[in-house]
Symmetry: none
């Protein structure tokens, strides 16, 4: 297993997994994932030790991709509200561009299949995003709420925003903006 002969096949398998899990849930058969990736059933297991490993690596990959994007679009020198807004929009854009990835990421997050080790590795990649959210957390802390309150609320309110946008895509920009303001009021 050591060195993967073809990183493309690995990627194809992860992408196929996203599509299959989106369609059928976490019980999507490995055989379907493999065949959608265009490889043989058994090949999947030369890239991933077992289904659990595939799921954990997929989770990590999705988190890393997202954090890379968030960090790329983040100006670390800007003021807190500006940075918060940047994160807000970056995430929403990603989630709307790749709704299946977001849905699968969420399913994996809530399942009990993702090892705490994997969760830690994912968290370690948050970079400058974490810094901004922690700064935001301090505001909340003044009100007597734990520091995580801010970031958790952001995730939660983005969830809400996405659902609304999914129903009225033509109002996307306005909904993103108004929902952000609502969120900002909440954490201030």
């Amino acid at each position: 297993m050591a060195r993967m002969r073809s990183p493309e096949k690995r990627k194809a398998l992860l992408e196929a997994a996203v599509l299959e899990i989106d369609a059928s849930g976490l019980s999507a058969p490995t055989s379907r994932i493999a065949s959608r990736a265009g490889v043989a059933e058994g090949t999947l297991f030369t890239y991933f030790a077992n289904k659990d490993a595939l799921l954990n690596e997929l989770y990590l990959e999705l988190k890393i991709e997202l954090y890379q994007r968030l960090n790329a679009e983040l100006d670390p020198k800007a003021g807190l509200k500006v940075r918060t807004r940047q994160i807000w929009f970056s995430f929403l854009n990603w989630a709307i561009e790749y709704p299946q990835k977001r849905k699968v990421s969420l399913q994996l997050h809530m399942s009990n299949l993702i090892a705490s080790n994997t969760r830690d590795q994912a968290a370690a990649k948050s970079g400058a995003v974490a810094a901004a959210l922690s700064e935001l957390g301090e505001c909340a802390a003044k009100r007597g709420l734990p520091a995580e309150f801010a970031s958790s609320s952001m995730g939660a309110m983005q969830e809400v925003a996405m659902d609304l946008i999914a129903k009225q895509p033509e109002r996307r920009e306005q909904l993103e903006r108004e929902a952000f303001e609502a969120f900002w009021r909440a954490v201030q």
Copy 2:
């Protein structure tokens, strides 16, 4: 003349389903559910036509239980903020008292196993709660957000509150209060 179908066994099966699904997800085997309920494998199917039916009835039962509680603790004549706070606390208390039921209810809600018919039946039981949330939606509407924004946000922020409380149960009361205020700022 014959042994009558016992409501206790039905209840035992639904409760066992909650525990098993909490532990293993929606793919929890019917055999495990039956055995945890203390009945034979086949007995489950005298109470529910098939696994799907069990899941749908469970969803309905959980929703009804919750709505009954929310409505019982709701004063329909009180002002909007008061009623909103009543719903907020009632729900949190239920969710904290029965974390497994809440988790299972959520999983069922997100799955594609619950028939729209079942969802409608559940919605029909919301009673005065629905009235309060719709009134709250009108506020949001003034800001240009859809009416659902308010109720969705409530759910989302309660989610956040519950996570925090789970981590610091001794601060429960304060966290509930502060999170409510944050939520209230968001929807005003």
Copy 3:
């Protein structure tokens, strides 16, 4: 089990069995048979020791009913061809009048569920029919064929006639007649 409280229920069960087996084959569930007969699932087993017993008794009943009819319409003093023709028409009329009974009787006959004991009991009821057929068998014997040849051929050719009549019911009379003549040529 000794004395049946209600012969009507027994009859209802046997009739229901005919209909269910006609529809679903010998694997028709006892529960469906019982419910079509308008009695409880368990009641079936107070009338028949088990499914096998039900099937054996049904076979016997059908054979007896048929033989009674054949014998009733048979004039034992008539010539051989006349008697043969009487049997031929009596049977065809019964089979066309009760196609389900005939189909079920055939299925039971071919299955390995009917005990040889049961088959013997059925054969014992053939009465004057047997006499006519055995007389007919003697003709065949002259040609070097076993005595059973005649009766077996009759059954086989009636089978053929019924299929043809099922497809062209309006030509029933003619088909019955011509097929009989063909059969008669065969055994002469």
Copy 4:
């Protein structure tokens, strides 16, 4: 590169199916069929999509085997009676050589598990046999019987012949001959 699906295993499964169905009827469990074929339970389903498919393919295979044999032993240039006799003996030889195949073929034929599509495919293989039987049907037609009368009668009388031969195998040749003559008288 991988192990290829082996025609031998497929054949072994079909043969095992014949034996099991002969012994226990169409409800013969797939697990017994697989184990008699010397493969694992699941392997059966790599060769046949499901039990129904297995049964349909088995039916087709049996019909094709029979028709190939009948056609191989048939001289299309011979006179009608000669050809009819050839078919008569070919079939009887096959049926006596493989009594289980014949019994299973009959059971499948009468069941409602064989798709009309499958029946059509089987009929398409009848070749020169069909021609001879249809020619024979024309004789019957002169007597006012439908064309199928001849072929149906042949099947029916062969059925009779086989039963007799099964009881007195030592007289096989004579019984085959005499029964054929009886049949021929019937259809002339």
